[in-house]
Every structure is written in C-alpha cells, then in structure tokens.
Amino acid sequence: MSAIEFQGVSKRYRDRPVLCDLSFRIEEGERVVVHGPSGCGKTTVLRLVAGFLAPDEGKVLVGGRVVASEGIALIGPEQRRLGMVFQDLALWPHLTVAQNLDFALKAQGLAGEIRRERLSDMLARVQLSGSEDVYPARLSGGQQQRVAIARALVAQPLAVLMDEPLSNLDDELRDELCGQILDLHAQLGFTLVYVTHSKEEMRRIGVRSIRLREGHPAGMG
C-alpha cells in the first residue's frame, strides 16, 4: 500500500494552471524530495496532500484511501493522519512548547499518562527536554525549528510533510537540522515528503526526488 499517491492531478488558481496531470506514488517509510524553481507548484502539492486544497481534476490518495477527487475533498485534513512543518513554522504563540505538542495528542483522545509519555519522549528526541513550559517566542530559531518538527511527529502520523522548513536558517544550523531530521527518520521510519529548492538539502534528505517545472513533472529520480 502506498502512503501517498497522485493520479492525474491538476490544479488551477483562478485561470492559471499550477499543476497539470501530475501522477506519482510514495511508498510507506520513503523519503521523497519535491523540488523545482519558485512558483512551480511545490507547495501546492503539499497543500493538496494535507487537504487544504482539493484538486480540480484527478485523485489524491493517502494511506490507500481516496481523500480528494475531482474538486471535492472527501476526507478533512484532521482525518488524514498527517504531520506538517510549515515554512514559517506556524507555532502557536499563545501555547507553551508542551501545549503545542499536546494539541494533536488530545485530538486523538489519548489518556493523560500516555500523552505525557509521548510528549517527553519526543522532546527528548529533539533535545528539548526541560523546555515544556516555555513559549515559542522565548526559543532560538533552531529550537523553534525543532519544536515544529516534534509537533509534526508526536502524533505518530502516516506521513510528515515539510515545506522548505530550513530555508530561513544559516548554513551551520541547516546542516545540523538536516542531520537531525535524518536521525529521526531512521528512528521512527515515517514517510517524509520534503519540499525544497536547495540542491544541498535535496542531496542529503531525498532518497527519491520529484522535479516540477511550471506544474508539470519534469523528472523523477
């Protein structure tokens, strides 16, 4: 069973085509990088997978289920079992680090004890133990990045989507966090769809890549 699949997906914004007849398949546990020049539709691919957009034509499958088809989102984002790291991180500023992570766990209806265990385990994995009660604004850029990654992973999603998560960091920090993402993938074995325009990140993160050009698949490797 594939983790994520696009079958002939097209998407237009107003009259401008963004994706044209895009098909690909990502297997469970795979690391795939979606790359291409600015405006080629990379982020649109992630938003279609997440459920923030519905394709005008074609089908999107997540975990083997058709989640959106021919302009209709059949399954809402909250039922797709996905995690996502946004380009601007989108950490909730009014919630502490622990509350940011706990939001997704609460939605799963897990008991308090299990939630606490998972939360501290995930914070330990991203080296943020002891930061539970800190608000995101008090953390450094790299720490905020790690909170965003931990939040995406803590509910044990089927796949994690990352939208240029390291684009605003300096080379050293980017290198360190790339290594951390790879370590977490090795430990947890999640499916990773990673959008970037950086060749260095593409080389390090991606086992396989999907190259887009003006909304068309321009190559898969």
């Binding site: 997440a50 459920g51 923030f52 809402g76 984002p77 909250e78 797709r80 996905l82 995690g83 996502m84 946004f86 380009q87 601007d88 989108a90 909730w92 500023p93 009014h94 939001f103 997704a104 939605a107 799963q108 604004a137 939040r151 509910a155």
Partner: protein, 528 residues
C-alpha cells in the same frame, strides 16, 4: 543635516503640542478647578443619588456589554470565518447603527415598539402600551445600546479573526476539526481584539447620554451634565465626572494589559487568504437566523423611522428648522476630520518610529481621551478656554473642532499607524539617503504610502464627529449648533413625524457622504 533633523523634530513636537493643548490641558484644568474646594467632592460624592446613578450606569454597561459581546462575537465568527452567503452584506447591514448617534436608534425603537408605533398598530394598543413601558425602562435602554454598540464588537472581532495567520489554523486542522481549532487557536489569538471591543463598549455605554435621556433612564453622565447645564456648578460638575474618569482609566488599564502582553497575532495588511469553515447543512438555517437578526436589530428600528418621517412636507419642515445645522455639521465634521488626519499622521509616525521617549504615553493618553465621555472633555475644554483672552476660540466653532480633536485623536492615530505598520522604514531611509529633506519625504514618500489609511482615517473621524452629541451640546456656540444637538433640542417639543424626519436627515448626513466616499474609493482602487 541639522536643519533636516530640526525641521522633522519641530514638526513632531508641534503635533505633540497640539495634542496636549487639545486633550491633556483640559483634563489638568478640570482637575485643578475641582480641587479648589473640597465641598465639590463632599457634596457630589457624598450624595447617595450620585452612587445610585453610578450603580445604574455600571449595571447598564455590564448588561449591554454582555449582550453585545454574545451577539457580536458570534456574528463576527460566522461572518469572518465561514462560507455563509452574503456575509459582506450582513456585515454592512449589522454595522449600520454605528453611523448614527444611539439616540436615533432609541427614536427608531420608539417608532417600532412605543405607543402608536408599528407593533401597536399591528397588534393593538394594549400590546403597544406594554412594549412602550418596557422600552422606557432599563431593559429598553439595554436593547437600544446593545443595538448601537454591537457593530463595535462585530467589526473588531472580524478584523482580528481575519488577521490570524492561516498557517496557525492549518497546523491545527491537521489534527482537529474546526470547532476545536476555533476554540483553541483562532479565538484565543483574536482575544485581544475581542477584549478591546468589550472594553470600548463598556466605556461607551458608561459615557452614553442621549439614548438613556430619551428613554428617561437615569444614568451617571446625566449627573455631571445636569450639574453643569442646569446649575452651572463647574466644580460640582467636574467632581461628578471623576468616577467616569476612574472607570475609563480602569478600562484603559485592562486594554493595555491585554494588548501589550499579547501582540503576536497582528498580521495586518499581509493579504493572507483567510481560512474558511464550510458550514455544510448548517448553512441555510444560519443564513435564515442572521437574516432575521438583521431584520429585527437594524431594519425594524430604522424602517420604523423611515415610515414615520418619510413625507415630503415633514422633510421640508425638518430642513427649514435644521437645514443650517445640517450644513454646519458637514463643515465642522469635514474640517475636524482633516485636522485629525493631519495630526494623526504625525502622531502615528512618531509612535511607529518611536521618535520621542514617551511615544507609548501619547498612544495611551489618546486612547484614554477616546474612552472618556464627551461631557467630561467638554467641561475640561470650557475650563481652559472660557475666558476673555481666549474668546476667539471659545465663542467660535474652533472650540468644537478642538473637542473633536481631543476625543478622536486615537481613531486617526491608530488607523494611520496601521498603515505605517505595513510599510518598511527603509522606504523613507532610501529617500533620505538620496538627499530628500523631511518635508519632501513627507510629501513624496510617507503621505503617498500611507494614503489609503489616511483616507480611512478621514472617513472614520468624519463619521464620529458628525454623530457626536455631548460635545456638540456643550461646546457649540449659540447659533452654531450641529444637527445632532438641534435634533435633541427639538425632540422636547417637536411632533413624532418631525423628530423622525430629523433623525432621517442625521442618518443621511453620515450615510450619504460615506457611500459616496466608498464608491469613489472603489473606483479609484479599480483604476489604480
């Protein structure tokens, strides 16, 4: 370089001086005047009636704020965050009461529920008697003021909800349904705006004079107003105003605390696509419910006014008796809005660039003056300017314009500040590096960049000046009254038809120029 720095500094200090003279000085004079004799305080504050009125005002403000917040926040969420059909139309219709002074709505409700009103004609005089008795009492005042101030909550809730970064909601949508996302993420992020709206409604109700006076509900502002107009007891009037000043200060403290600690949600002008909740099967019932709400809260009182006053003969009489006041209102409001926008521009610049050490105080004092009842500001201005040497201000419409500047500087400053927040300081710095002096930068860079917010500031302040009652009643020189003051005066002995026609004239005075402004702005935006 020195000359450039000096001209900039001088301009900003002149703006500060105008603001201090118009707004701060009157408060200082008022306080000093009331302290001349302790008898003012003992007589006024020792009177049980004073505290009874204060209790009544506080209760009125609490009930009005509670109802306006329940209705306004709910409607704000539905209109800002869902795919309800015609939501922009509903937002405009439900905001209409903000265009007129609350006493016009009171007259409208009287025409709907009072003796001889629409309901009485339809259901019989016994029903009319009962609803009239209900209207001319505390519940009626709550109804009228809730209708009048609901738009404040609605508009601020909508604005703050739309300013929430959609990515924050999308991050939550990956694990939760919309109700949980709204409850845990969206509404808490918009909470500062909602709290601000509640503080404003509370303080505006506390200071409201016209509607309770029309409905014969005794409230605190009447005490200060009566001491001044009936007995001309200046010291007692200022002492009676003191509790209102204290309540306004408390409200301001709440606002400052809530907003200063939670400024994370501001995302004005980033043109983000707002996330929308699909209502699904709830769409039709909600549409019908909001249609009904709009009909009852807005169309009913305003429609009743139109039915009563829309006759050619009565409108002609209204124009004969108050036409000159209407023209004066337009002129005073336009002059004041222009002055406020100019002052607001420089104060907003000063606050945005933190050009003086006390920039935060200017913002806070301006907001404090906005939340003070007009009668308090008017009494302060009279204390400053009512002397032979300054008769050129006190005995002319300049005193009214000064009052408008004091009361509404916060509106123009904050509106233009929002415009500055969307532009980078480097745009001005680039002009400075290119050799442009201060005035050239203002003329060719800063004003054009802030022009949309300057236009909004002009429209908003024009509206507030045109609908102002307390300042107009107390400050307009003899023979120079405004339409709102003239209508209040004629209410005492005019026929219901004439009063309704005067209210319609007042409504058109604000609605027509704003509609023309809105149409012109839309055309200009399309052309650009």
């Amino acid at each position: 370089m020195d000359r450039v720095l000096n001209s900039k500094r001088i301009t900003l200090w002149v703006a500060v001086a105008i603001f201090v003279i118009a707004g701060v000085l009157p408060l200082c004079f008022m306080l000093a005047a009331s302290l001349t004799s302790a008898a003012n305080y003992t007589a006024t504050l020792g009177n049980p009636r004073t505290w009874g009125l204060l209790r009544s005002s506080l209760l009125l403000a609490m009930f009005t704020t509670t109802l306006a917040s329940l209705a306004g926040v709910t409607l704000g969420i539905v209109l800002a965050k869902t795919d309800l059909p015609l939501r922009s139309v509903f937002a405009v219709v439900l905001s209409m009461p903000l265009l007129f002074p609350p006493y016009i709505l009171a007259v409208g409700w009287y025409e709907a529920l009072g003796r001889g009103g629409l309901l009485s004609q339809w259901a019989g005089s016994a029903v009319g008697e009962a609803t009239s008795a209900w209207l001319f009492a505390f519940p009626g005042a709550v109804l009228v003021l809730t209708t009048a101030f609901l738009p404040v909550v609605l508009l601020l809730t909508m604005t703050y909800l739309r300013a929430v970064n959609p990515a924050l909601e999308q991050a939550a949508r990956l694990s939760s349904r919309w109700p949980a996302v709204l409850g845990s993420i969206t509404i808490p992020l918009a909470a500062p705006g909602i709290v601000l709206s509640l503080v404003l409604v509370f303080l505006m109700t506390m200071g409201e004079f016209g509607a309770p006076a029309f409905l014969r509900v005794d409230v605190f502002p009447v005490a200060s107003f009566t001491q001044f107009t009936a007995f001309y007891n200046f010291g007692a009037a200022t002492a009676a105003a003191l509790p209102l000043v204290v309540v306004a200060l408390l409200g301001l403290a709440v606002e400052q605390r809530v907003l200063r600690e939670k400024t994370f949600q501001f995302g004005w002008g980033l043109q983000r696509d707002c996330e929308q909740v699909a209502l699904g099967s709830a769409r039709t019932p909600l549409f019908l419910l909001i249609t009904l709400t709009s009909l009852v809260l807005v169309a009913l009182p305003l429609g009743a006014l139109v039915l009563r006053g829309l006759s050619l003969a009565v409108l002609r009489e209204a124009l004969d008796r108050a036409g000159a006041s209407a023209i004066r209102t337009l002129v005073y409001s336009a002059v004041s809005a222009t002055a406020l926008s100019m002052l607001g521009f420089f104060l907003a610049y000063l606050i945005h660039r933190r050009a003086v050490a006390f920039w935060r105080s200017i913002d806070a004092v301006a907001l404090f003056l906005f939340t003070l009842p007009g009668s308090v500001i008017a009494i302060g201005l009279i204390a400053v300017w009512n002397r032979p040497s300054t008769n050129w201000i006190y005995a002319t419409p300049a005193i009214l314009v000064t009052g408008f500047i004091a009361q509404y500087a916060a509106l123009s400053t904050r509106t233009i500040l929002a415009g500055f927040a969307q532009t980078s300081p480097s745009l001005e710095e680039a002009a400075e590096v290119a050799g442009a002096g201060w005035f050239r930068r203002v003329r060719e860079i800063l004003v054009p960049l802030a022009m949309p917010s300057i236009l909004v500031s002009w429209a908003v302040t024009f509206l507030f000046c045109a609908r102002e009652v307390s300042l107009a009643l107390l400050l307009a020189p003899p023979g120079q009254d405004t339409l709102t003051a003239r209508t209040m005066t004629l209410m005492a002995n005019g026929s219901p038809e004439l009063v309704a026609a005067l209210c319609l004239l007042s409504m058109s005075l604000t609605a027509v120029p704003l509609a023309v402004y809105g149409a012109a702005r839309t055309l200009w935006c399309k052309a650009v």
